[in-house]
């Protein structure tokens, strides 16, 4: 490569007050301030956002798909965590 890229940043946008920030994509920038401005210019041109988070991609730790089974499958048989698991008489209200 003739030259290295500026670092890669992941961009998260809150589209409206009251909503979570959501991952929208990535971009390159030399520093956090530039990443923020680039995110504004690239990802909010059509009023897509009211708040931006940028995180340098190298700081994101992702779970490993190889561990998916041990991570997520054990939750499958714990139906008692959901309200529908329990019997409540029909004439009980507000529960």
């Amino acid at each position: 490569m003739s030259q290295k890229d500026w670092p890669l940043w992941e961009v998260f946008i809150r589209s409206r007050q009251g909503l979570d920030h959501k991952h929208v994509g990535s971009l390159h920038a030399a520093d956090a301030r530039m990443a923020m401005e680039n995110a504004r210019d690239v990802y909010t041109r059509r009023l897509e956002g009211v708040s931006i988070w940028v995180v340098e991609s190298k700081n994101i730790h992702a779970s490993n798909p190889d561990e998916a089974a041990q991570f997520y499958d054990p939750a499958e048989d714990k139906a008692y965590r959901h309200p529908t698991f329990y019997n409540v008489p029909d004439d009980i209200e507000h529960m």
Binding site: M1, Q3, L8
Partner: protein, 313 residues
Amino acid sequence: MTNEEIFEKKIQDDVRIEPKDWMPEAYRKTLIRQISQHAHSEVVGMLPEANWITRAPTLRRKATLLAKVQDEAGHGLYLYSAMETLGMPRAQAIDDLLSGKAKYSSIFNYPTLSWADMGTIGWLVDGAAILNQVPLCRTSYGPYARAMVRVCKEESFHQRQGFEIMQSLSQGSAEQKAMAQDAINRWWWPTLMMFGPRDAESGNTELSMKWRIKRFTNDELRQKFVDMMVPQAQHLGLSIPDPRLKWNEEKKGYDFGDVDWNEFWKVVKGQGPCNKQRLEARNKAHDQGAWVREAAAAYAEKRAKRAQLGASA
């Protein structure tokens, strides 16, 4: 199940493949090739239209054309981002573009000679691009599909922008009508070439279909495009430069003439009217910006060091 079987099953069940999932090396390579070519096309594709921003005939047209070309930069960026999730750095992909190793859509190797070309590119060329791109919103690789959803959303204003220009011209003076017709005459065949070689000669199609990277073949999309565009051209009162174009009641579609495949391959291999010019422009921009990229990186490093010193003091 083996990795391979899990992967195949996901493809069969239309479950998206995500960056850290196991995938066959050939799948990764095919995707890197296709996504980077797609990104390069967006970036090189800025040039023929940027050629007319400073000459747009009204301020409204200037603003909309600039916004459109800006979107193309954005599309390039979304696509490079998707590509980077496969482990290919953007700098390396751009190096491949600048050295002439990587390909991009040949349509951008044709010159934009009049204002009507802005209308024709928006209407015809973007029309073709949209047909190619809409199915990609459901492509099997998650980041690519998500980038395409964003691209397609933005793309819909592009085609309208082009059609509106064509409409003004076709309802305008004799000179304007002639300008519009001349543009269609020059762009029609290169646009049909955008769908790629005939299915029988397309080396990549079969695997790409199997892996659901691609969802329609080149010839299927080309037919769809002709069927879609003929009525629109009629609406504009402009003719399509193909004497063999004829409605076929039996197949409920148009029969049309043969693309000049000799020209197609010549342009792909570098002999189009603007291949060199486009690459030179990109190389010049890249080289002349080297000092700026270095400066910003150097400043970021200095500032990080100062912050560290400040924190430890």
